[in-house]
Symmetry: C2
Subunit: 112 residues, 2 copies
């Protein structure tokens, strides 16, 4: 064997990214979504319950911040912090890989 130990920072990063929906939510925010309903619409298979939970986790992890605009009616927006925005190269690499290697049959839901 080559390495005996996994880099703990890498492991920690995957505790975040290796959770269902997390990556897709970050991707949605990177591509311009800001509001709860927008993100929800962009990821149709995900429930509101999961979105709310993940948004809290991502906020706690410093990936995004929740901004309340005390308008009428109140508007809440989510935006990536610098830490979150810096995940763009990761998302781009995944996008590139997916385009090259995921065949049409692997698409999980052909209903739309």
């Amino acid at each position: 064997m080559v390495d005996l130990k996994m880099c703990p920072k890498f492991e920690s990063a995957f505790e975040l990214l290796g959770k269902r929906w997390t990556g897709l939510i970050i991707h949605a925010l990177l591509s311009g979504c800001r509001r709860f309903c927008d993100i929800s619409e962009m990821i149709p298979h995900m429930s509101d319950r999961m979105l709310a939970e993940r948004l809290k986790e991502l906020e706690a992890a410093g990936i995004l911040k929740r901004i309340v605009y005390p308008e009428t009616p109140v508007r809440i927006e989510y935006e990536l912090t610098e830490k979150g925005h810096e995940l763009k190269p990761v998302m781009d690499a995944i996008q590139k890989w997916a385009e090259q290697w995921i065949s049409p049959e692997e698409k999980q839901d052909a209903s739309t």
Copy 2:
């Protein structure tokens, strides 16, 4: 909102990577692990049960192949296919991000 639909290939890629352990297993294989026990050793928090399950999934997804050497005793090795190996840029991007943005306190297990 900007985009209305998530790219289905991207979504499909995250069905794989967005599962616990998957990323760490691929990382282990990229860094030279080949045998069940080696991977298991490199990811101490993961159980054998999960490793066996993930290896099957990754084999089914064409990310790796299982090779049996009918020696005495039999030796089984796992190696990445081209599809699997091409995830290196993704892993590198994550590693780079993790090194820059994960603070020491976020390391999940400081026992070792």
